[in-house]
Amino acid sequence: MHTVEALLALIILIGAVAYASQTAPKQICTGEERTQLYLYGRDFLNILDMEHGDHTSWLYHQINGTVNGSRWNAAENIINEWNKTSLPSKGVFCKVEIMNLTEKGINVVNLSAGEPSEDAVTISKIVTIVNPPYVEIYEVRLTLWYA
């Protein structure tokens, strides 16, 4: 009889341990890692948007060339710059979206490939394109995640 009791107890114990292991928080990305992702993204966009003497920047020209008919692909070019940092070899990947905020609603005008993970971090930068008499506002969204 005690064998049946032992088996019953074993099943209950295994069930409890299995439940505990499944309900434990599956923290893929720690707070420190998310902070580091945020800093990578902000630093990278700051460097791309470093101001020239004429108040434009590399990022400004990329977006202007993409949206004003120069057949540029700003999102792809930004990804190419990101690949130069060698951070992809450390498992840090990024996706770029460029949105037009001046039309009705938010309109994605250019984006790169990539599927961010659930704990990805998004950093954005506003770029104002001045083509008198028009002023267009674009948002560059950089989404970073650890593979």
Partner: protein
């Protein structure tokens, strides 16, 4: 008759199971349960973050007779280097209140005072020269914000700060025959070390680091902090 086999009652096993459920629920529902026990680690991360912010996004403070400038590496704008200031200005080191590496904004810039993420070559060289001056090296802890006071007790954080290229090699100052920036003590093994990496551009340089966007020399400023 004496029993030779041990047995556990079902009651006891059910009680144990309820206990395991209870403990697992507490641990999963209160993620910060053990945070008070991790004060050293969380504190070090905040200090590493703060140090990286000061170095990358601030130009520093030099204060003399109530006059304040962020050009701590050359407050009189006479193109002296660190050694010349040390030799010719008696209070130079004490007048430096905070060390930052971001370059001062040009007059045409829309930035007010500093250009974040764009490090000044002269500030980098001045910081490296300060570290190399062993007689005055100890003052660096205070200037970098790494000598603080908690409840009246001084706390001294150890650090290792370096400029690296994206392939994780130190950026080399070929004319001086030494790393462009490598200050602090060797990183210990086995201790809790918090590391923050910042992507930076270096102003006024050639053949250093990688070109990103329109910036000729880019790399990583690595800040490591431990107690």
């Amino acid at each position: 008759m004496q029993m030779e086999k041990g047995q556990m009652s079902v009651d006891f096993m059910i009680a144990t199971t309820v206990l395991i459920f209870g403990i697992s629920l507490i641990i999963t529902q209160i993620p910060m349960l053990f945070a008070p026990l991790l004060t050293i680690s969380t504190d070090i991360h905040a200090v590493a973050y703060r140090t990286s912010m000061i170095l990358v996004e601030d130009a520093g403070i030099y204060c003399e007779n109530g006059s304040i400038t962020s050009a701590w590496e050359d407050p009189e704008k006479n193109a002296w280097n660190f050694s010349q200031y040390l030799r010719n200005r008696r209070n130079y080191l004490s007048n430096v209140r905070r060390i930052g590496l971001a370059m001062n904004a040009p007059v045409w810039s829309s930035h007010e005072d500093t250009v974040p993420n764009n490090l000044s070559m002269r500030k980098i060289q001045a910081l490296q020269d300060w570290w190399d001056d062993s007689a005055n090296r100890s003052m660096l802890w205070e200037k970098l914000g790494l000598l603080v006071s908690y409840n009246g007790d001084p706390v001294n954080y150890s650090f290792n700060i370096s400029l690296k290229s994206f392939n994780n090699m130190l950026i080399w100052n070929h004319s001086a025959g030494k790393p462009l920036l490598q200050i602090g003590h060797p990183i210990p093994t086995g201790a809790t070390v918090e590391r923050i990496e910042r992507i930076v551009a270096i102003d006024d340089c050639r053949n250093l680091g990688m070109r990103i966007g329109d910036n000729e020399c880019c790399g990583i400023l690595e800040v490591c902090i431990w107690k």
